[in-house]
């Protein structure tokens, strides 16, 4: 592996881990779905770097495309579609007690 590929792999790893943590901590549900699709995107690039082009194409099409579409449609149906961060439908940090 060339040096450039090593740096790209480290950068992708950092991006995926921080996006995964953001999925759980962000209040707005739409932002959480967007962070999950960032994880899928980073994963697709990492698969391409790992010499697995079939898997990379499947992850990009299914993970970053179809899965995010399914989750966003479900958000619409669940009434959780809010563009701002506040509102009674947002979740707090994961263990905050309410009521």
């Amino acid at each position: 592996m060339t040096e450039l590929e090593l740096w790209i792999a480290v950068l992708l790893a950092l991006m995926m881990l921080s996006a995964a943590v953001m999925v759980l901590l962000v209040k707005n549900h739409l932002a959480a779905v967007a962070a999950a699709s960032v994880v899928s995107l980073g994963l697709a690039l990492l698969f391409a770097l790992m010499r697995a082009p079939d898997v990379a194409m499947t992850e990009a099409a299914v993970g970053a495309g179809l899965s995010s579409l399914i989750l966003a449609l479900a958000l619409r149906r669940l009434g959780l579609w809010r563009l701002d961060g506040s509102g009674e439908n947002s979740a707090g940090p994961i263990t905050r007690r309410r009521d």
Binding site: D54, M57, T58, A61, V62, L66, L69, I70, L73, G79
Partner: protein
């Protein structure tokens, strides 16, 4: 209390995975099966893409199992979600650009989807990727016009025939004296479109089935009876 137990479980699982992973030799896998497959795959299946020959040839039954799991999940989701919402026809349409852009993207997406399905045995790609693109091609005009109806009857027909033809091609191999889903070698040279025997036919069946299934599932999700 429940949180601490959950975190302990996650930590224990992480420790177990760490123990397993540290025993693996990264970068030098044993490749006992992989090496044998790599040396004999082009002669036995005729496909240039070795992952295709593994998915459809050496592990064809796994692909059949995956198709049935996807079918079960999509039918169960369709059952749970219920009928089409009564006010679905009154949702506001997109503007001019959205509607006509969606209509113009439809043939392009179909072309790319079928291209990836047909060349699955030569380049990276195959039935699943192309099927997802076909599903997106069918669903995109529905996003622009939320009140439109998809022809669910036609989609179910395509899905049923594609699934049945996958099994029929497998039975054909059985009839010819081999095993179920054994790839039959018809004429063709490695690296051309008409190679790899029945593998492109299998991938075509997989692609059509996955595409029709996912388009139907997406349309159910978008237009279900549940409130906004």
């Amino acid at each position: 209390m429940r949180n601490i137990t959950g975190l302990l479980f996650a930590g224990g699982l992480g420790f177990m995975l760490l123990a397993i992973v540290s025993g693996l030799d990264f970068g030098n896998p044993a490749m006992l099966v992989g090496g044998a497959i790599q040396s004999s795959a082009p002669q036995q299946t005729g496909a240039a893409n070795i992952v295709t020959s593994v998915v459809l040839g050496y592990r064809g039954i796994d692909t059949l199992g995956e198709l049935s799991i996807l079918f079960a999940a999509a039918s169960a989701a369709g059952l749970i979600l219920g009928r089409r919402h009564t006010t679905a026809g009154t949702l506001t349409e997109g503007g001019f650009v959205l509607r006509h852009g969606g209509a113009m993207l439809f043939p392009l997406l179909m072309t790319i989807g079928f291209y990836i399905i047909f060349h699955g045995h030569l380049t990276p790609g195959g039935g699943f990727q192309g099927g997802v693109m076909l599903a997106a091609a069918f669903f995109l005009p529905l996003l622009a016009r939320p009140g439109a109806r998809l022809h669910h009857g036609m989609l179910n027909l395509i899905e049923g025939f594609a699934g049945a033809s996958f099994i029929l091609v497998g039975l054909l191999a059985l009839y010819q004296g081999g095993e179920f889903l054994q790839p039959l070698m018809l004429q063709g040279t490695l690296g051309e479109l008409r190679s790899a025997g029945t593998l492109p036919l299998l991938y075509l069946a997989v692609g059509l089935k996955v595409g029709a299934e996912l388009a139907s599932l997406l349309s159910h999700l978008a237009q279900t009876e549940a409130e906004q």
